[in-house]
């Protein structure tokens, strides 16, 4: 195994890359909600999650997901996965709720 094989996908300091895109992007509402979920879960009143778990969860998404998902999409994928790991939520109830939300949204269009 060469040294470069040992470099984790998120650990990118020093790698070649193109010019920095300086355009500004407003954080949209659904993204702010994810940020708020993280703030509330990690706050001292609850301590259900810590920032290190968030990072580890993001790092574990795999290179393809890491590159394709947007910043807050990675956050919610990591948060959901870690909450399931810790039995705060179950995968079944998350999947069921997503289905209900899709169905109700489809019925509105």
């Amino acid at each position: 195994m060469t040294d470069s094989d040992k470099r984790a996908h998120h650990d990118m300091g020093g790698l070649p890359a193109g010019p920095v895109d300086r355009s500004e992007h407003e954080t949209v509402f659904w993204e702010k909600r994810i940020d708020a979920i993280m703030t509330l879960l990690t706050g001292k009143e609850r301590r259900l999650l810590c920032v290190d778990e968030l990072r580890r969860g993001i790092e574990s998404l795999g290179p393809e997901a890491y590159d394709k998902l947007s910043y807050y999409e990675r956050w919610i994928a990591s948060i959901a996965g870690t909450l399931v790991e810790k039995s705060v939520l179950t995968q079944e109830e998350i999947d069921a709720r997503i289905e209900e939300l899709r169905a109700s949204r489809d019925s509105q269009t």
Binding site: V20, D21, L40, L41, R55, I76
Partner: protein, 210 residues
């Protein structure tokens, strides 16, 4: 009948959400949020307050700190010794953030990055810009900071040492930019108006005309 929970603040945003495609991760976020509220992990009100607090955090807060530092030498000593404590003197809540303020001088220019993720002094500056979180910035600024600075329009001579700070652990960094010459007569509020987010991350220098 829709099961969708309506929360305070939804009204002005729901219209936009329904027009644009709702990707899987938005559904996931909605599902997680609703389930956590139903299980009383937090309330809809808690969510609203957290978002309001986030919206209230802007680089203007950091600019106040910089301006105070420029006019008050004793404050500067305290800020450089304990960043979070000094910032809280100005009524800015730093939470558990351990802030380290790094001073630009005629011979040292500081620039901040988190190569591993996107650590940023959010309690003071708000959310980081997209470029700070980008692959391009995170990969290149530790390797070729001067080239990245040039892309931001900042050119430094070889007499100035460039010092990159990679936030890998618990500290968060804020650059104390140099006060531009010719601002001796300007009051603290006007000085703060010159200090932009980019000057506190270290990709730009403060100019007389903001």
């Amino acid at each position: 009948m829709s099961e969708h929970t309506h929360e305070p603040g939804d009204q002005r945003h729901t219209a936009v959400e329904q027009v644009e495609p709702h990707g899987y991760y938005q559904y996931l976020a909605d599902a997680v949020r609703q389930l956590l509220i139903e299980k009383n992990v937090f309330s809809a009100d808690d969510m609203r307050r957290a978002i309001e607090a986030m919206d209230a955090r802007t680089p203007a807060q950091g600019a106040r700190v910089i301006a105070r530092t420029w006019v008050d030498p004793a404050y500067k000593v305290r800020l450089l010794a304990d960043g979070s404590a000094a910032v809280e003197e100005l009524g800015i809540d730093m939470g558990t953030t351990k802030l380290v303020v790094v001073e630009n001088t005629p011979t040292v220019h500081n620039i901040i990055v988190c190569t591993l993720c996107s650590c940023y002094p959010r309690m003071l500056l708000g959310v980081p810009p997209s470029w700070y979180k980008s692959r391009e910035y995170r990969s290149r600024v530790v390797r070729e900071p001067r080239a990245v600075l040039a892309e931001f329009g900042t050119k430094l001579s070889d007499d100035v040492d460039v010092r990159v700070h990679d936030s890998t652990a618990d500290m968060r960094y804020l650059v104390l930019p140099m006060r531009p010459t010719g601002t001796g007569e300007i009051g603290e509020e006007e000085l703060a108006a010159l200090v932009t987010r980019d000057t506190m991350v270290g990709v730009a220098q403060v100019r007389m005309t903001a």
